[in-house]
């Protein structure tokens, strides 16, 4: 009996676990994939490419940007042609939603490492997410702003597309439920090169606080500069935003005008824990820049994959892997995280940070936090 088990064990030791990575390696979102892939490579370098007796093999596929038909086809090809055991990556929501169908039909374990729309994890019972959801951040932020943040009235400005609408809805909901009042709202076109007009509109209302949401990339710096140009001083008018607003490149471009901006986010490279300091140092040594949220999503995604492979006792089918993922908890460079057994989504701490000059450099300094935040949208859905 024992020899049979050992034989089976050694047979599976030869088995490679193939992981298909679907990301926008080229096109306007390429930087997100670069950062995510960097973290994945670093994790494998630090932890070795053999897990629970299986050797890992990675197959990378480029979607080129928002292309759900391509993402779905790539997922299908990875399953049918390359016989992957895990589908991972997924920076963009439409792509994640399309690939979810493949995960559900082929019963493959799928790890979403960035895409942040709430409903994504409902599309396949074999999917787990290690990044964030937009409402998880923004509803918590809204509630914080109206209570501990001491803000009574706010003017909101968001990008006019899905994620922006989600952020607006979530923030306003949290804010109003905690007793705040939204005095005005505006939406900018998605491809918006110039924010001046919208910032002027906001200024006309003389708001106590402004909440802004723009996608990462060029827009945060442009918005920040537009706010500064109009003379909106973060020390007098509170400026609130999701962490993208004060990401590294944006801070550099805005300069001292960024000081005082308050953001909510789940990860920052300056988070003060030994685990994170080691992570940031290793990342810098390997790639010459700081990790960001795409990196941490990829890092924790890899951690989850390694952990479930170990926990499933060598089994690689979707059922076994997702079963092992539910309820998994671990300490990440961002803080404590876990995978909610009901929704298979990430549960984590939301940090409230303010931009301050520390040692001559502009940093997001964490001064408050809300722990164990689940995705509120799914929590409200009827079971």
């Amino acid at each position: 009996m024992l020899s049979l088990v050992m034989l089976a064990g050694s047979a599976s030791a030869q088995q490679t676990v193939r992981i298909g990575l679907i990301m926008p390696y080229s096109g306007q979102f390429a930087d997100t994939a670069t950062q995510m892939d960097n973290a994945i490579k670093l994790y494998v370098k630090q932890n070795g490419d053999t897990v629970a007796g299986h050797k890992l093999e990675f197959i990378r596929k480029d979607t080129g940007g928002i292309a759900p038909d391509v993402a779905k086809r790539l997922a299908q090809e990875l399953v049918v042609r390359d016989k992957v055991d895990v589908l991972a990556g997924f920076v963009l929501t439409p792509n994640a939603l399309a690939a979810a169908d493949v995960s559900a039909e082929a019963r493959k374990f799928m790890v979403v490492m960035n895409a942040a729309t709430s409903i994504i994890t409902t599309k396949s019972p074999y999917m787990a997410r290690t990044s964030l959801t937009t409402p998880q951040l923004n509803e918590t932020f809204g509630a914080w702003a109206a209570s501990k943040g001491g803000l009574k009235k706010v003017y909101t400005m968001v990008s006019d597309y899905g994620p922006g609408h989600d952020a607006e809805q979530a923030f306003q909901r949290g804010f109003k439920q905690a007793g705040g009042e939204v005095i005005g709202a505006v939406r900018f076109p998605v491809a918006n090169p110039d924010f001046a007009a919208f910032v002027q509109r906001a200024k006309d209302q003389s708001p106590e606080g402004i909440y802004a949401w723009v996608p990462g990339g060029a827009q945060p710096a442009a918005l920040g500069k537009a706010l500064a140009e109009r003379g909106i001083d973060p020390k007098r008018t509170r400026i609130l935003g999701q962490g993208e607003l004060t990401e590294e490149e944006a801070r550099k471009s805005m300069g001292d005008t960024a000081i005082g901006i308050i953001t909510a986010y789940h990860y920052d490279a300056s988070h003060d824990s030994k685990l994170n300091r080691d992570f940031v140092k290793a990342f810098n040594d390997a790639y010459g820049r700081n990790p960001n949220i795409y990196s941490i999503g990829g890092w924790d995604g890899m951690h989850l994959i390694y952990a479930v492979l170990k926990a499933s006792g060598g089994k690689t089918d979707g059922e076994a892997l997702i079963g092992a993922a539910k309820g998994m908890q671990w300490e990440s460079p961002r803080g404590p995280v876990s995978i909610d057994p009901e929704t298979r989504d990430i549960v984590q701490t939301v940090y409230i940070r303010r931009v301050e000059k520390v040692g001559g450099e502009l940093k997001n300094v964490e001064f408050d936090k809300v722990e164990n935040v689940k995705d509120p949208v799914k929590a409200r859905m009827p079971k």
Binding site: F188, V190, G217, A218, A221, G255
Partner: protein, 288 residues
């Protein structure tokens, strides 16, 4: 009320001036040489990356990098024109389209390879940041700078076109190439210099754009549409046309976003469609 109107017009004008610098080169070369150069924004990208490299890695002051951005882009234009483009002057428009799109693809990949895919940060000098308040309106310093630069460039362009011999040669070549050749004008040289000038201005525009709209490896694609809009609305081959079109588009875009924010992105396209339906050759275009 009036204050915000003045502010909106000012901001729109500044944005328009940026579009003008980016587009004027394409308008002239398209009108003059009938050469469809969709890689025009790649030259803008070259200018942008030159400025970024000089300020960030070599510590040059921002203003000093601007002439370098112009020269680098102009040099790249000349090289490209002499080696590859001139073989395509006789080719059909569709072939020119395909070729120059291939050049855009290559330039985007090269930019990603050398500079990565990340947004390029730019450290503008402090005297160009912030704003000046005058008659109750906020005038952003950088936008004032943009307008001044654009007006200067326009003045130089118009002056050289109207009052120099070379300018007269260029105008002759635009109006009637065959006649110009017949009169002994070195049309090829006029083409090359004009092409270099157009590319150089795009490079300058790209460098100036970083502060307002950012720079990354996909810039050559992203702004192509706006540049084409300015060129079409202004009329091919017309500097004045590009100026007015860029100003009109910039102001209407800004005014639209301020007074009718729900129209948002629609407005610039509606304005373009409207103007083209009214004047298909553009505001100052010549009817062939």
């Amino acid at each position: 009320m009036l204050g915000s109107f003045v502010g909106v017009v000012f901001d729109g004008l500044a944005y328009g001036m940026l579009l003008f610098l980016l587009s004027v080169g394409l308008s002239v070369t398209l009108g003059m040489m009938n050469f469809v150069n969709l890689a025009h924004c790649s030259f803008a990208m070259i200018g942008g990356y030159v400025t970024v490299t000089l300020t960030n890695s070599l510590g040059w002051p921002f203003l000093a990098t601007l002439p370098m951005a112009f020269l680098a882009a102009a040099a790249a234009s000349v090289v490209l024109e002499r080696t590859l483009y001139r073989r395509l002057y006789r080719a059909g428009e569709l072939d020119q389209c395909l070729f120059t799109i291939g050049v855009v693809f290559i330039s985007v990949a090269v930019a990603a390879y050398f500079y990565g895919t990340v947004q390029q940060p730019i450290d503008t000098p402090s005297y160009l940041r912030g704003s000046i308040t005058f008659i109750g309106v906020n005038f952003a310093a950088y936008r004032l700078f943009l307008i001044v630069v654009a007006l200067l460039v326009t003045a130089i362009l118009v002056f050289s076109l109207e009052y120099t011999r070379f300018g007269a040669q260029v105008r002759a070549a635009v109006d009637n190439q065959r006649m110009a050749r017949g009169l002994g004008i070195d049309v090829d040289r006029a083409f090359a210099v004009t092409f270099a000038l157009g590319g150089g201005l795009a490079g300058l525009g790209g460098a100036l754009a970083i502060e307002i709209v950012g720079l990354d490896h996909a810039f050559a694609f992203t702004y192509l549409v706006y540049v084409l809009i300015v060129v079409a609305v202004g009329g091919l081959g017309s500097i004045g046309g590009s100026f007015v079109a860029a100003a009109v588009l910039g102001v209407s875009d800004m005014a639209g976003k301020y007074y009718f924010p729900w129209l948002g992105a629609f407005l610039i396209y509606l304005v373009m469609v409207g103007i083209l339906m009214w004047r298909p050759a553009g505001l100052f275009g010549k009817r062939h």
